[in-house]
């Protein structure tokens, strides 16, 4: 049913419908409303789960690791410095192949301190071995939680997922969202049934150390599982579409790419503003399209190649990054260039919107003009005094 609600509350409701058995999180802006709502659900009997209060994010995710290893469906949520504090636990959760789902209300990392949005937090954990989903709007932010549990818990995958949505820009926005019912979600998401679990009657160990004879193989299998998740995402997305009509089977979304001369590549809520500006640029005769990346891990190299490499109409690609691998480029640009290796189409990178800097339609249009002129690989929108 369509209802109008805050992004954070829509996400909390979606998480409730996924029936997590253990929730452990520590409040941090702009994620706080999600965990407040979940704590309310548990206290009021609307969610039959153990809510573990902890002293910080390291403990929050550690509690989820223990609970997941014991066979529980577990959930956490964080952002920014909170995610940074989880760094070690993130690698352990993924290495132990524990299908925890964690919402990330994307926020910049300090210093300098910023509570505002960019994607540096989750992007900095891109090597942690988790799946990473990125939502454009609050409908997707909710739906991707159902998809994430389904994919993470699939025995071909057994890996944790980040469901990322832009802090404040989505988390604090009221807009209509079509919420599923408990019956709907129960139909889509079977009970968590892991192949291995901590059990006193049949003891096993998780995360024991691997000697040089075996570590390489563990990493190979982890990487393979993450890559195999592509097929599982496609299948889970198709089944979701068959039941509820919204299709998340593709890891990328193309918008007006059929004849696009300039292709913008981006992730997250900025893509809505980009779509509106594309419509306006097309009305003025400019052939611009968008390739939106919905899943960043595993990286959809083949989907990007399919869209762009064989298309002779593509003259230039502008990759917009709300993050930067300092000393190199934006993470998306690096990966897109890798995917398109051998292609002669220029790929320009624009770092923008960091720390909550607003991105408007006119900015997107200016970036397209810069790309047309062959000016790229730059920060966009800098104040003049730093130049």
């Amino acid at each position: 049913m369509m209802e109008i609600t805050e992004g954070s509350h829509a996400v909390a409701e979606a998480v409730r419908l996924c029936r997590p058995q253990v929730v452990s999180a520590y409040p941090i802006t702009p994620q706080t409303h999600i965990v407040e709502a979940l704590a309310d659900f548990v206290a009021n009997g609307k969610l039959d789960a153990e809510y573990i209060n902890v002293e910080n994010e390291f403990s929050a995710l550690s509690a989820c690791v223990g609970a997941s290893a014991a066979g529980s469906r577990t959930y956490s949520a964080t952002t920014s410095q909170g995610l940074a504090l989880m760094f070690e636990v993130c690698f352990n959760a993924a290495g132990m192949r524990l299908p925890i789902v964690m919402s990330i209300a994307n926020r910049a990392l300090g210093a300098p301190l910023s509570i505002w949005n960019d994607m540096q937090d989750s992007i900095s954990l891109r090597d942690a071995g988790w799946l990473q989903f990125y939502a454009e709007d609050n409908q997707e932010a909710t739906d991707l939680h159902y998809i994430a549990y389904r994919v993470s818990e699939d025995r071909k995958v057994l890996l944790p997922s980040f469901v990322c949505f832009d802090g404040f820009i989505l988390s604090h926005t009221y807009e209509p969202v079509d919420m599923l019912t408990q019956e709907d979600v129960d139909k889509y998401l079977p009970k968590f049934n892991p192949p291995e679990r901590l059990d006193a009657a049949d003891p096993v160990s998780f995360g024991m150390y691997a000697t040089p004879e075996y570590y390489l193989e563990f990493r190979y299998e982890h990487d393979k599982a993450l890559k195999d998740a592509r097929e599982v995402i496609a299948k889970a997305g198709k089944e979701f579409a068959a039941l509820f009509g919204r299709d998340y089977s593709a890891m990328v979304e193309g918008y007006k790419l059929e004849d696009a001369e300039t292709v913008i590549v981006a992730m997250g809520s900025i893509c809505g503003t980009i779509k509106d500006s594309i419509d306006e640029m097309r009305a003025e005769g400019k052939k611009v399209g968008l390739l939106r990346i919905r899943v960043f891990r595993p990286f959809p190299s083949e989907d990007i190649t399919k869209f762009i490499k064989s298309a002779t109409h593509v003259k230039r690609i502008a990759v917009l990054d709300k993050n930067i691998s300092l000393g190199a480029k934006g993470a998306t640009a690096i990966e897109v260039k890798d995917a398109l290796y051998g292609s002669t189409v220029p790929v320009w990178n624009y770092i923008l919107g960091l720390g909550g800097r607003d991105v408007r339609k006119k900015d997107i249009k200016e970036i397209v003009v810069l790309a047309e002129k062959g000016q790229g690989d730059q920060f966009y929108g800098l104040r003049k005094e730093v130049l």
């Binding site: 109008i4 805050e6 702009p30 509570i115 505002w116 949005n117 709007d137 832009d166 404040f168 820009i169 604090h172 926005t173 009221y174 807009e175 209509p176 809520s269 900025i270 809505g272 503003t273 779509k275 509106d276 909550g356 607003d358 991105v359 408007r360 339609k361």
Partner: protein
């Protein structure tokens, strides 16, 4: 698409006003989007909140720079913040003030002044003007129906508090309707 920008000070309920206006608009079959200007909230600091209205899905996520409607909860903001910046010709500006306007608004823009503070003090016993100004907004723009606003207020506030806020909104609604 129509856009509203609300100017207020931290503690005056600008964000709540934006949310409830969006809720009321949604009840009227409109796709609405409400969000705050993501500042660090402090009591008394200038704050902004935004609402968009459209008959189709709203994709745009930037802040509102060229509003069709502006609500100013506190007229003392006018000397510190350019609250009328970017308002569209034909737009409507609603300012809470008990005085005759001593400020200039852009040409071609309709100004409505209302003593929302006195209305709120009388109805609520508090100088919190957000719900009062929502009533004025409904009457001035027709973007939301009063019945939908009433439902949104009933949903957000309980019992006596809901009744009082509805009364404040209704007084402002009738005042603006009467002045038109």
């Amino acid at each position: 698409m129509r856009e509203l920008r609300i100017h207020g000070r931290g503690g005056q309920g600008s964000v709540t006003a934006a949310e409830l206006i969006a809720v009321a608009a949604f009840e009227g079959g409109v796709f609405a989007q409400a969000f705050p200007a993501f500042g660090v909230e402090r009591r008394g600091a200038p704050v902004q909140a935004f609402v968009r209205f459209d008959n189709k899905k709203i994709r745009k996520r930037s802040q509102v720079y060229e509003p069709d409607y502006i609500i100013v909860q506190d007229s003392t903001l006018i000397k510190d913040v350019n609250v009328f910046l970017g308002v569209k010709p034909g737009g409507i500006v609603i300012v809470n003030t008990e005085k005759k306007p001593d400020f200039k608004i852009p040409e071609g823009v309709k100004l409505i002044t209302i003593d929302a503070t006195s209305i709120a003090l009388k109805a609520l016993g508090l100088p919190i003007t957000n719900t009062t100004l929502m009533g004025a907004f409904a009457a001035a723009t027709g973007e939301i129906q009063f019945a939908a606003l009433e439902n949104a207020l009933k949903h957000r506030f309980k019992g006596e508090l809901a009744t009082r806020n509805i009364a404040a909104a209704k007084t402002a609604f009738d005042f603006v309707k009467g002045a038109a």
